[in-house]
C-alpha cells in the first residue's frame, strides 16, 4: 500500500506527524519512508539520520545558454521566452539559469544556428539510508534555483518500489511537499490514499482544501489529522469541512511544547516525550491507522 501525508500549507506539522507515525508503526509493519519534499527535505533531520548509504545525482534539468560570440543581438529570444528568463547584461543576452524552465523556445526561434544550446544540468540528488529505527528512508534534495520538478519525486518513488521488492516491504509511506504543485501531484499520483494534516486556522483550511482537490482528482480516499487542535478554539470550520465532506478525522493533536522541543533534539516527539499530551493523541491516531488503513 502506498500512503501519502500531505497538507497544502507548510509548517502545520506534516513531517513532525509523519516521523512520529513512522516511529509508532515500525515494530509491526514493514515499510519504506519517502521524503517527497525535495525542495526542503527534513524527515531525515527528524529521524536523526547522520549519513546516507547511497546517493545518486539526478541530471535531468535543462537550461538554455546563449553563445555571446555568435549572437547577433536581435532580441527575438527575449521576446519569445514564455517566462521572461532572458536579460540583457552589458549588452549581451543572457539566460537566467535560476529561472529557466528549459523549454528551448529561445533555441527554436534563434535565427543563428548553434547560438543557443540546451544544456543538461544537475537538478539534485536522490539518496537512501537505513534509519536507526530499522526502516529505510529515501530522500532527495533539489539544487537551488532548479525547476521544482516532480521528476525527482517520481525517481524517489521508483527507488522505493525497487526496495520494496528487494526487501519484501509491504508499504510505502510518503511525506509530501507543501503546496499543490508538481511534487505534490507526483506524490499523490499512484498512491492508495492520503492523510491530510491541518491546523485550525483559515490559512491552513484554505490550503488543505486545495490539497484535497488534488486527492479527489486522483479519486483517492482521504483522512484528516488536526494538529495544534486547541490553538484556536473558536475556529470550527476545519472540523465542519471534514465532516461535511465525509473525510474521516483520525484524531486531534493538542498544541504541546514537547513538539518543538523534540524537534531540537532531532527525535520524533513520541520517542522524546512519550508522556506528553501530544504523544497520547499520536498513539491513538497510530492505532486508528493500523485498524482502519493498514488493517
Amino acid at each position: 500500500m502506498q500512503l501519502v501525508i500531505a497538507s497544502g500549507k507548510g509548517g502545520v506539522g506534516k513531517s513532525t506527524v509523519t516521523a512520529s507515525l513512522l516511529y509508532l508503526l515500525k515494530d509491526e509493519y514493514r515499510f519504506v519512508a519517502v521524503d517527497a519534499d525535495a525542495d526542503a527535505p527534513n524527515l531525515d533531520l527528524l529521524l536523526g539520520v547522520e549519513r546516507w548509504e547511497e546517493e545518486r545525482e539526478l541530471v535531468g534539468a535543462k537550461v538554455a545558454r546563449i553563445n555571446t560570440e555568435s549572437c547577433i543581438r536581435c532580441g527575438i529570444c527575449q521576446e519569445r521566452c514564455p517566462y521572461d528568463c532572458i536579460k540583457v547584461i552589458d549588452g549581451d543576452y543572457v539566460v537566467s539559469e535560476l529561472t529557466c524552465e528549459g523549454c528551448n523556445v529561445c533555441g527554436l526561434v534563434c535565427p543563428v544556428p548553434g547560438t543557443i544550446s540546451l544544456d543538461e544540468v544537475r537538478s539534485g540528488v536522490v539518496r537512501k539510508t537505513t534509519t536507526r529505527y530499522g526502516f529505510p528512508l529515501i530522500s532527495a534534495q533539489l539544487d537551488v534555483g532548479r525547476p521544482n520538478s516532480g521528476k525527482l519525486v517520481t525517481e524517489e518513488k521508483e527507488w522505493a518500489k525497487k526496495l520494496m521488492g528487494e526487501l519484501g516491504l509491504k508499504h510505502m509511506i510518503v511525506d509530501s511537499a507543501a503546496g499543490i504543485g508538481c511534487q505534490v501531484i507526483a506524490s499523490i499520483g499512484g498512491a492508495d490514499l492520503t492523510i491530510l494534516v491541518a491546523e485550525p486556522t483559515p490559512a491552513s483550511l484554505s490550503d488543505v482544501q486545495r490539497a484535497y482537490k488534488v486527492v479527489q482528482h486522483f479519486r483517492q480516499p482521504a483522512y484528516l489529522i488536526i494538529n495544534k487542535a486547541d490553538f484556536n478554539p473558536g475556529f470550527t470550520k476545519l472540523r465542519e469541512w471534514a465532516e461535511a465532506g465525509g473525510i474521516p478525522i483520525l484524531g486531534e493533536i493538542p498544541y504541546d511544547r514537547a513538539i518543538p522541543r523534540s524537534m531540537s533534539m532531532l527525535k520524533p516527539f513520541v520517542e522524546a516525550f512519550p508522556d506528553s499530551k501530544a504523544a497520547d493523541a499520536m498513539r491513538e491516531i497510530a492505532e486508528r491507522v493500523k485498524e482502519e488503513i493498514l488493517k
Binding site: G10, D39, L46, P82, L98, E101, G145, R146, P147, S264
Partner: protein, 289 residues
C-alpha cells in the same frame, strides 16, 4: 524598486512578516504587496480580504488539425516535456498534463495551421484593495495543475504594472526556480527562519540562493525562543547577512491573527518588533525621506 520576503521552510511566518511589514512600510512608500506563493496563497486571509478582480492565466496548448498534419513527428521530437506522443503512423496526441505551454511544437511545425493555438487555464491572478491603503496582488494555481511558474510570472507582471514606488513580494517556501523568479530584481531579501534544526537547514538554502543571485539578505528569526539563535547568527554571518530581529513565540501574534487584526496595528509589545524591522528596511533602501 522591489524587496522580497522569503524563508526556505514553510510555516515559519513569512506571510505574517510580509503583511505586517507592508502595513508598517505603507507610511513611507506607495507600495503593492504581491503574494507569489501561488500553491498556497494566504496573505489575503491574513489581511482579511476577499480576492477580487480575477484574471485568468491561460497557457498555449496545441490543438492538432489532423486534416493538415503531415505526421512528420517534429512536434513530438521538439517537446522537452514529452507531452506529445505519436502513433505508429506519426499521428500526434497531446497529454495535456505534461504540456508546459511553451509553443515549441507550433514553432517547428512545417505546415501552417496544422497546430492551432488552444488554451489551457492554469490559475488566476487577483488585484485586491486592502483596508490598509495598499493593494494586494495574488497568484493562485488551479488545483490539479502542476506548473507554478506561469502564475508566478504573470502575477509579478501584474504587480509591476501598477508602477508603485515599492513592490514587496512574498515568495513560496523552498528554493526552486519559482522562488528565484519571485526574488529576481529584488534589492533586499528578508529571510524569515526559525532557530530549529529544520528552520536553520532551510534558512541556509535561501541565503545560498540570495548569494547566487547577488541580492543582500537580512534575517528575521521567528519563534526565537524555540531553539538556538546563535546558530542562526553564525550561518547568517557566513553568508554576509545580519539577524535584524528576533520574534519570540507569542500568544499575542496568534491572537491577533485569529482576530484578523495585524499585530503591528495593536498595542501588544510585539508590534514594536515589526516597526523595527520596517525601519531597518527603510534605512537600507534609503527611501521615504
Amino acid at each position: 524598486m522591489q524587496i522580497a520576503v522569503s524563508g526556505g521552510k514553510g510555516g515559519t511566518g513569512k506571510s505574517t512578516v510580509a503583511i505586517n511589514l507592508a502595513i508598517a512600510l505603507r507610511e513611507r512608500y506607495d507600495l503593492v504587496l504581491a503574494d507569489l506563493d501561488v500553491e498556497a496563497p494566504n496573505d489575503h486571509l491574513l489581511l482579511g480580504v476577499e480576492l477580487a478582480n480575477e484574471e485568468p492565466v491561460e497557457l498555449f496548448m496545441p490543438r492538432f488539425d489532423y486534416q493538415k498534419c503531415t505526421r512528420c513527428r517534429k512536434c513530438a521530437e521538439v517537446c522537452e516535456e514529452h507531452a506529445i506522443i505519436t502513433m505508429r503512423d506519426g499521428t500526434p496526441f497531446l497529454m495535456p498534463n505534461l504540456c508546459s505551454g511553451c509553443a515549441a511544437c507550433e514553432i517547428v511545425c512545417p505546415v501552417p495551421g496544422a497546430i492551432l493555438p488552444g488554451k489551457k487555464l492554469m490559475g488566476h491572478t487577483y488585484l485586491t484593495e486592502t483596508p490598509y491603503g495598499f493593494p494586494l496582488v495574488t497568484g493562485r494555481l488551479l488545483e490539479g495543475e502542476e506548473r507554478a511558474m506561469p502564475i508566478v510570472s504573470r502575477a509579478k507582471k501584474r504587480a509591476q504594472g501598477l508602477e508603485k514606488e515599492l513592490l514587496m513580494v512574498d515568495t513560496a517556501a523552498g528554493t526552486s526556480n519559482t522562488v528565484s523568479k519571485a526574488l529576481e530584481d529584488s534589492r533586499l531579501i528578508i529571510a524569515v527562519t526559525e532557530p530549529t534544526p529544520l528552520g536553520i537547514h532551510d534558512g541556509e538554502l535561501i541565503l545560498k540562493l540570495a548569494k547566487l543571485m547577488d541580492i543582500p539578505a537580512m534575517v528575521v528569526v521567528n519563534r526565537s525562543d524555540l531553539g538556538d539563535v546563535a546558530k542562526v547568527r553564525e550561518i547568517a554571518g557566513r553568508y554576509g547577512a545580519e539577524v535584524i530581529a528576533e520574534i519570540p513565540y507569542s500568544e499575542n501574534i496568534i491572537r491577533s491573527y485569529v482576530e484578523g487584526r495585524p499585530i503591528v496595528l495593536t498595542d501588544y509589545p510585539e508590534a514594536e518588533l515589526f516597526r523595527e524591522i520596517a525601519s531597518r528596511v527603510v534605512e537600507f533602501l534609503g527611501g521615504g525621506e
